[in-house]
Subunit: 254 residues, 2 copies
Amino acid sequence: MTKVHNFSAGPGILPQQAIDNSISALQNFMGTNLSLIEVSHRDKEFESVMAEARQLPLDILGLGDDYDAVYLGGGASLQFCMVPYNFLNTKAAYLKTGVWAANAVKEAKFFGETDVVASSEDKNYTYVPKDFVIPTDAEYFHYTSNNTIYGTQMHSIPNSPVPLFCDMSSDIFSKQIDAKKFDLIYAGAQKNMGPAGATLVILKKELLEKITRKIPSMLDYRNHFSKESMYNTPPVFAVYCSLQVLKWVKEMGL
Amino acid sequence: MTKVHNFSAGPGILPQQAIDNSISALQNFMGTNLSLIEVSHRDKEFESVMAEARQLPLDILGLGDDYDAVYLGGGASLQFCMVPYNFLNTKAAYLKTGVWAANAVKEAKFFGETDVVASSEDKNYTYVPKDFVIPTDAEYFHYTSNNTIYGTQMHSIPNSPVPLFCDMSSDIFSKQIDAKKFDLIYAGAQKNMGPAGATLVILKKELLEKITRKIPSMLDYRNHFSKESMYNTPPVFAVYCSLQVLKWVKEMGL
């Protein structure tokens, strides 16, 4: 039985098979006679889960070896801070199309010049600005692909002269996209791919070489990517459950 | 059937009733006909879970209204950064008794002068230093109550002339303590109180008034405490499961 997918505000409805598989793993994880939440993330069984959960999003999005993926705690809101902490040294460009985009702008200002190239705040974020120019001297351009609160979705990927970053929390894996246009994608799991508690971050590996700021360890993407999402204990259950949803997405196709 | 509690390295063995209750909630959360991981954290059912999960640790530790508790994502490792980001303006004192304590020291140095009052690094953290002086001009004194990797546990609470902070990840709720001696306590859930993916932070409310640094929103304790652990989407499953463990701890007694 497949339930309806929910792409509006609030958490997503998950495929029943993903919930059922997660329950089975809580009862007995891969024949270990332990619950999923009792095994070490360093056990080979969970390491295989993490490896698959990192690879599958790349496969589904048609991304190759030049990209990598990790799961972090703290929600997409923590990425509003980590993205500029790692990549905004002088100036970044942001499109302000909703409450989440505005929160991302607010955090970016903490780290450097934040050029809001266009905003729909004047009409309460009820439309998506069409005419905007992305400055060529920005270190990246950031936008939110879908604004859940007001239902305004970007229907095409902007052409960007600088690295393209996107918060896809509410529409990742909901349709086919040309993911190779992006340098960094992040998405809180709880909308489209699993339970609250994990955020998927995908980036083009070469981007990591651009990090020059001194950053607290847990906020430095280089640590999480070099340790293959095991820099510290990952949110084990949320990763496992997200993997079950991703398997279902792959079966169903985008 | 009660399983043995595990206070050594690696994740904890959880009481079976906590796992069973968590599975039931994944099947049908409090009569909503939705899975726990499909309901909004803003639904009244989950709000009641969060309220109880925040109050019960205070009750178990004998702490009153002058303390408050929240659940954050990112693990105790993120607290190594958040603690000094919020509270180290000029100088803090740290006891370096193990790998986790050393990691906490490393992050603190990022934010201000970090006075390591004693260290057992010379003998690979196999003992706990006994003679040390905590400077009275430090903003806080931080130590790790139990070092899982080498099994060195602090058997008494140090007398501190400055606010006392403690990483209790591996022994919180394992024995009776005089919790009122502490100004801030944190603990990653995955050792003693639930699954990986949530970290309990308890603090004396008056401490929040001492925060003066400008801090990115998600790293600012004031946001998480003023929003009662709902500043952003909390790790719903990990909080629910932790609550089940806490109920069991309360039943069993410390």
